[in-house]
């Protein structure tokens, strides 16, 4: 699949999308080896000089590759669910050129050696670039601070206890304060664990009818409210992952208005689905946090529109059949998302909520900025990490065709619009749709 592209490659006849500069125009882009060397509407107006390989984009959108800031890799530890290689293949098929992985592997990414292992292993396969988060607390136990400073020096982009909330307020306070010593970011799974304990879906009528234990949306609000106070007293940098409730969006909105260093993301299920997707105990719709009510979903869309929600990430959580073919309460949480990130987010464009530029901003430029990655823009000198996609092309999600080892998509059989045609990493076309 990987095609070597030594020398110069011209991408002509493209709709260039660069949210960093607001560029949305027809034009061309030129790469040389691993980097972009020129881009713009006037480029190659007189034709491409001889000797340069040309890829005719035929009017499709050429944008910076997607930066997915929330991916669970199952390597090391659970390679039967996903490996760095299979996740890398799924990523590039979804137009993702960089993914940031959670530390909830086995062993946990809480020491310098594991950070280096993940980075080195991922570099070898030459697919989507992998950047690790490291644990905020040792072994994700929520008790003692991990070696945040040294882990950052080793390459950890930010610090999180992954799918677990940092529950103890004093520990969270110290994590925020200690990380702020180095200007580093804490990423929180904002869910009060004592309220989520035992719950398997959104609390409400649907859960009551199905006889399933609910998780109140207040579990998100309580944790966020607490954390906002801790951010205020520590001056720390805080990012709330996968916001899924109306109250959660409102809390972040107010914190931003107050000037706190707070950002957040959400994932496609939370703006494209609601609790009704659980239907008759569909375990693929069992996510953490749970799919919420229609009012919550609409509030998440509003949050994305007004910029309260900065980023959209896949929240890719591969689970094998054995973890999902179980009674609902026993099934594992999570859904795969790398290969549906772009088409589901494109629904926001097709429904008139976001411009194409804003779609790319939420998926690429914004996460790159937050995490300090030199990615997410079409700029001379930047790495040639690109996605070429047809924004309108209709297709149907078919998990069996996924490159991911796990097929647990909540979007099974959903008709979508927007197809990745080609993914380029460091100048090499690593995925080409046929």
């Amino acid at each position: 699949m990987s095609i070597n592209t030594p020398g110069r490659v011209a991408y002509t006849n493209a709709r260039l999308l660069d949210p960093a500069t607001g560029l949305d125009a027809r034009g061309a882009l030129l790469t040389d080896g691993e980097i972009i060397i020129d881009v713009g509407p006037g480029l190659f107006a007189g034709g491409v000089p001889a000797g340069i390989q040309t890829i005719d984009c035929d009017g499709a959108c050429l944008a910076p590759g997607l930066v997915d800031m929330r991916v669970q890799l199952r390597e090391p530890g659970e390679e039967h669910k996903e490996t760095l290689l299979s996740a890398g293949q799924a990523a590039v098929a979804g137009g993702v050129t960089a993914m940031v992985c959670l530390p909830n592997t086995d062993p946990v990414i809480d020491d310098v050696a594991t950070v280096e292992f993940v980075a080195r292993r991922a570099r070898k396969n030459g697919l989507a670039k992998v950047y690790p988060y490291a644990a905020a607390t040792k072994k994700l136990e929520g008790k003692e601070l991990a070696e945040i400073g040294m882990l950052a020096e080793a390459g950890a982009l930010a610090f999180t206890d992954g799918t677990k909330a940092i529950a103890n307020a004093q520990v969270m306070r110290r994590a925020l304060a200690y990380a702020a010593t180095f200007g580093l970011l804490i990423v929180q799974h904002a869910e009060e664990p004592s309220m989520a304990s035992g719950g398997v879906m959104n609390e409400g009528e649907m859960a009551t009818r199905l006889g399933l234990s609910g998780i109140s949306p207040a579990a998100e609000a309580i944790m966020l409210e607490r954390d906002m106070r801790l951010v205020e007293i520590t001056g720390g940098r805080y990012h709330a992952a996968h916001i899924a409730t109306a109250e959660g969006v409102e809390i972040i909105r107010k914190a931003k208005a107050k000037g706190l260093h707070v950002t957040c993301d959400t994932a496609p299920p939370y703006f494209a689905l609601n609790e009704l997707a659980v239907g008759q105990y569909r375990t693929f719709a069992k996510l953490s946090p749970p799919l919420r009510s229609e009012d919550d979903r609409r509030a998440v869309v509003e949050g994305i529109k007004d910029g309260t929600i900065d980023i959209i990430a896949s929240d890719h959580a591969p689970q094998d059949q054995d973890s999902k073919r179980l009674p609902f309460a026993q099934a594992a949480f999570g859904g795969v998302g790398l290969e549906t990130l772009l088409p589901i987010t494109m629904e926001l464009y097709h429904n008139g909520h976001l411009s194409l530029l804003k779609v790319i901003e939420r998926l690429s430029w914004a996460p790159a900025q937050l995490l300090g990655l030199s990615a997410g823009r079409l700029k001379a000198g930047a790495a040639a990490d690109l996605v070429l996609f047809d924004p309108d092309k209709p297709w149907k999600v078919n998990p069996q065709a996924f490159h991911s080892k796990s097929k647990n998509s909540p979007f099974d059989a959903r008709p979508v619009q927007g197809k990745v045609l080609r993914t380029v990493i460091d100048g090499r076309s690593v995925y080409v749709h046929d």
Partner: protein, 314 residues
């Protein structure tokens, strides 16, 4: 009789003292340094006076320093440590104070794990009280000996830039030094991870840094604080190696300071935790042993003025 150079009955803290009082104490201490270096070190100034060292916390160097200071001045010095006293039998601080008071001591030197203990004691006894360290509050004689060490090396305190580095949150030494150095016109910087800084510390007239190289840049004095083991292991900082990597003083970080910057430490040191072992022993840079010498002189001066005041009050 000389003027009352230190017009207070007790020495409970640096906070509230003025530059004249501090200067007078340092001047007197200076004269005792010379006395201590001469062959005839025994004086009779405090003959017949009783100094009681009341130490509720383990301390070798401070207690020994006070004991030596008292003895050089000719006082009778009695050491009471917590294990040997009736404190172990449940006597309260005030009960102990009343008992000691009845023995007509002249100076009580107290070290206690609780902030405010010296003040409480001073309200209950007739004699003078010297605070030899109370909780996380103050350790005035340490700040005075640090100031004396700096003044003898640099000639003055005003205008110097002093970086106090490490566990400021739990440090009485830091608090006393911040007060003293500010009063004397020095620029005080603090360098620590945010978890080791107490709330609103910036209101105490200091400049706060979270990075050693930035905090040490062009400073004249680097004052390292001891990091206690119970602060380790993930509560305030993740580990010893991470702490040393970012906040331990080594030659590399020290190179940001002025070439003639001095290194100080109140002791006892954790070598390899807050300070590189070779650096601590570097006679060109480290004045850590000199601080110990100054400690005796400063404590002699304090005992001298407090007993003198008492005599004059009579």
């Amino acid at each position: 009789m000389t003027d009352m150079i230190y017009p207070h009955r007790h020495l409970l803290g640096i906070e509230g003292l003025g530059p004249q009082e501090i200067t007078a104490l340092l001047d007197l201490s200076d004269s005792y340094v010379e006395t201590n270096r001469s062959s005839d070190r025994k004086l009779n100034l405090l003959r017949g006076k009783t100094v009681i060292n009341l130490f509720y916390e383990n301390s070798t160097r401070t207690r020994t320093s006070f004991e030596l200071a008292g003895k050089r001045l000719g006082a009778d010095v009695i050491n009471m440590s917590v294990q040997a006293s009736s404190v172990a039998k449940g006597e309260t601080l005030i009960d102990t104070a009343m008992t000691l008071n009845a023995m007509h001591a002249d100076v009580l030197v107290i070290r206690h794990a609780d902030s405010g203990a010296a003040q409480l004691l001073s309200q209950k006894v007739n004699c003078s009280v010297i605070n030899a360290g109370d909780g996380q509050h103050e350790h005035p004689t340490q700040a005075l000996l640090d100031a004396l060490t700096i003044r003898r090396r640099k000639g003055h305190l005003d205008g110097l830039t002093v970086a106090i580095c490490g566990d400021v949150r739990h440090s009485r030494v830091a608090r006393s030094n911040i007060h003293l150095l500010n009063v004397m016109g020095a620029n005080v910087r603090l360098v620590a991870p945010r978890t080791l800084l107490p709330g609103q510390i910036d209101r105490m007239g200091v400049e706060v840094f979270y990075n050693m190289r930035q905090g040490l840049k062009d400073c004249d004095i680097v004052m390292m604080l001891r990091v206690q083991n119970e602060r380790m292991a993930g509560n305030f900082i993740p580990s010893i190696r991470e702490y040393f990597h970012f906040f331990g003083l080594d030659y590399e970080k020290l190179s940001a300071a002025k070439p003639d910057a001095l290194i100080m430490h109140p002791g006892p040191m954790n070598r390899g935790v807050e300070i590189d072992s070779d650096l601590a022993d570097d006679v060109e840079r480290s004045v850590i042993r000199e601080q110990v010498e100054m400690g005796v002189a400063v404590r002699m001066a304090c005992l001298d003025v407090l007993t003198r005041n008492k005599a004059e009050a009579k």
